[in-house]
């Protein structure tokens, strides 16, 4: 009996044991006696943010310099809901933030995705810049440059309080990232996801085989925006504070660098890139608080020159050589 297409995809993309490695490492890290859980939480949040960018950039080829717009919308949605509406239940607020960011993704996507190249790049950046300026001007609501303070978040599931050691935040972020990864993995290995790769490679051809390219691009842009929004909300909930930085070009640039470092269009590149970037930043800033960016920049230059597939691309090359020698 013939398999349905989605079964063909599923058969080709069954979970491999190696895919559980990052999760095993993340769980194991939690139990280390000297684990820096606040840094670990930050890595998990940025990994989710980078994962969201991978869907649009790595898989669909939509270049964005303003992805922080959705991260910031999610952060402010969760923060404002808690601060002004008393919506302090974290999980429902997280979903709310994702929906708001996803809706923003639909609206902005329908406008910016009609363009290509430099125009698209500038428009994505402009959206983030405008949102940051709006957040700044609405100081009475957002706290402006002083940031949104006084956020209270209830214990997760009514049981687990956000503690000063970051235990709850870490586990909470890890579970959310895991669920988002399942969603993203399902998407990229579905016919819809393979269609996104087709759009990245040749949008005209995809259109000629009956794919509504614009609709698919807006759809994945909205999904990506929602995931970025969830990441922003996680940051707001775990720090109980939202600054204008969440909408900054710096955040948009950082997440792009993380993805390039880790490897685009691979899902796991987001994990590797966020980890390397934030651990390196942490270690380098201990050596030189002012010039840690130099080290990151050096690594980025080396990556784009010698490892076009990012760090995971290097792993692929190494594995291929080992297999080649064996055969």
């Amino acid at each position: 009996m013939a398999l349905h297409p989605i079964d063909h995809f599923a058969a080709g993309h069954r979970l491999r044991p190696i895919e559980l490695l990052p999760w095993a490492l993340a769980v194991g890290y939690f139990f280390l006696p000297n684990a820096n859980l606040p840094l670990g939480t930050e890595i998990l949040i940025w990994a989710l943010f980078a994962l969201s960018l991978d869907l649009v950039l790595g898989y669909t080829g939509i270049v964005s310099l303003g992805h922080a717009a959705f991260f910031g919308i999610g952060a402010y949605a969760a923060g404002l809901a808690a601060r002004w509406l008393g919506w302090t239940e974290p999980i429902s607020a997280l979903l709310f933030a994702g929906l708001v960011a996803g809706a923003a993704g639909i609206v902005s996507g329908m406008i910016v995705l009609r363009t290509h190249g430099l125009t698209l790049l500038m428009l994505t950046m402009a959206v983030a810049v405008m949102l940051k300026e709006i957040a700044n001007k609405l100081g009475w609501l957002t706290g402006g440059a002083d940031g949104l303070q006084g956020i209270v978040i209830d214990p997760v599931l009514g049981l687990y309080r956000f503690d000063m050691f970051g235990r709850t935040s870490y586990v909470y972020a890890l579970v959310v990232l895991f669920l988002a990864w399942i969603v993203a993995r399902r998407i990229v290995h579905s016919p819809f996801g393979r269609g996104l790769v087709g759009i990245r490679e040749n949008a005209t051809r995809m259109s000629a085989i009956g794919s509504p390219v614009m609709r698919r691009m807006v759809t994945v842009y909205a999904i990506s925006a929602a995931l970025a929004g969830v990441a922003g909300a996680l940051l707001a909930q775990s720090t109980r504070y939202v600054t204008l930085n969440v909408l900054s070009l710096e955040y948009s640039g950082d997440v792009l660098i993380m993805l390039v470092l880790g490897g685009m269009g691979r899902l796991y590149g987001a994990f590797a890139g966020a980890t390397v970037f934030l651990v390196l930043r942490d270690e380098l800033s201990k050596i030189s608080p002012a010039y840690w960016g130099f080290g990151i920049g050096l690594l980025l230059v080396a990556t784009v020159l010698f490892a076009r597939g990012g760090l995971l691309g290097l792993v692929d090359i190494a594995l291929a050589r080992i297999r080649g020698k064996r055969s």
């Binding site: 063909h8 790769v197 051809r205 259109s207 085989i209 009956g210 794919s211």
Partner: protein
């Protein structure tokens, strides 16, 4: 017979540049039409215009009773037009199977049927598009178009640049497609003899205009007329 495709005084091109001028043609359902002519006379532009990839400057295109004017390319594909482009344009990083299934729509054509037509593709189903030979890529391009279950298949020089043995295989597959009877085929081809032998009717284009539209048999027995119409000695 029922008419499937009709172009009426179509003028089209790229931007302001007009390549096709007042082209009219009609293709019956289950019929075959060959489009021949020298390089640069507008053969590829004709197919691209039917697909909606060019700027339509005038005229009308009707397909299965639907006015295609202003319709986006993906809607034309969904209406039942399949397109095999000259450059094949396989998705390089997708596997053979993924290249086929991204184009799948409900109908008689399925993975199994495409693999039955091109057994070589079945053996390469897990290979990526960029790992295929030119002939395999061409088979995949045809298979991908068929997965959309079209009523009309537009093929742009599918035999170009292929080894004779591969050309034989593809021609056999195209013959099977024609014999199946359910598909209308428009074939753009440089090899005049092959085109005339394949299609019931032939359209000759010269500088964007139709200079002949009639039975292929009319030209097949008159090489001198073919040479006059095309302007160069025919290719075998």
């Amino acid at each position: 017979m029922v008419e499937l495709l009709r172009l009426e005084d179509v003028s089209a091109g790229y931007g302001e540049t007009v390549v096709l001028e007042n082209v009219s043609l009609a293709v019956e359902a289950s019929g075959t039409l060959a489009v021949i002519g020298r390089n640069g006379v507008g053969k590829t532009t004709l197919l691209a215009t039917i697909m909606g990839h060019t700027q339509l400057h005038g005229g009308a295109i009707r397909f299965a009773g639907i006015d295609l004017t202003g319709m986006e390319a993906h809607a034309r594909a969904r209406a039942g037009i399949g397109y095999v482009p000259q450059e094949r344009e396989i998705f390089a990083s997708l596997t053979v199977e993924e290249n086929l299934t991204v184009a799948e729509r409900p109908g008689d054509w399925s993975l199994d049927r495409v693999y039955d037509m091109f057994p070589g593709l079945a053996n390469r189903r897990r290979n990526r598009g960029n790992q295929l030979s030119g002939g395999e890529q061409q088979m995949l391009a045809i298979g991908r178009a068929l997965m959309g279950n079209p009523k009309l298949l537009l093929m742009d020089e599918p035999l170009e640049g292929l080894a004779p043995v591969i050309v034989e295989q593809l021609l056999a597959a195209m013959e099977r497609l024609r014999a199946s009877g359910g598909l209308t085929i428009v074939l753009v081809e440089q090899h005049t003899r092959i085109a005339l032998a394949f299609a019931q009717r032939t359209l000759v284009l010269d500088r964007g205009r139709v200079v002949f539209d009639g039975a292929s048999a009319e030209l097949a027995g008159d090489p001198e007329r073919v040479a006059r119409l095309i302007g160069v000695a025919e290719r075998s």
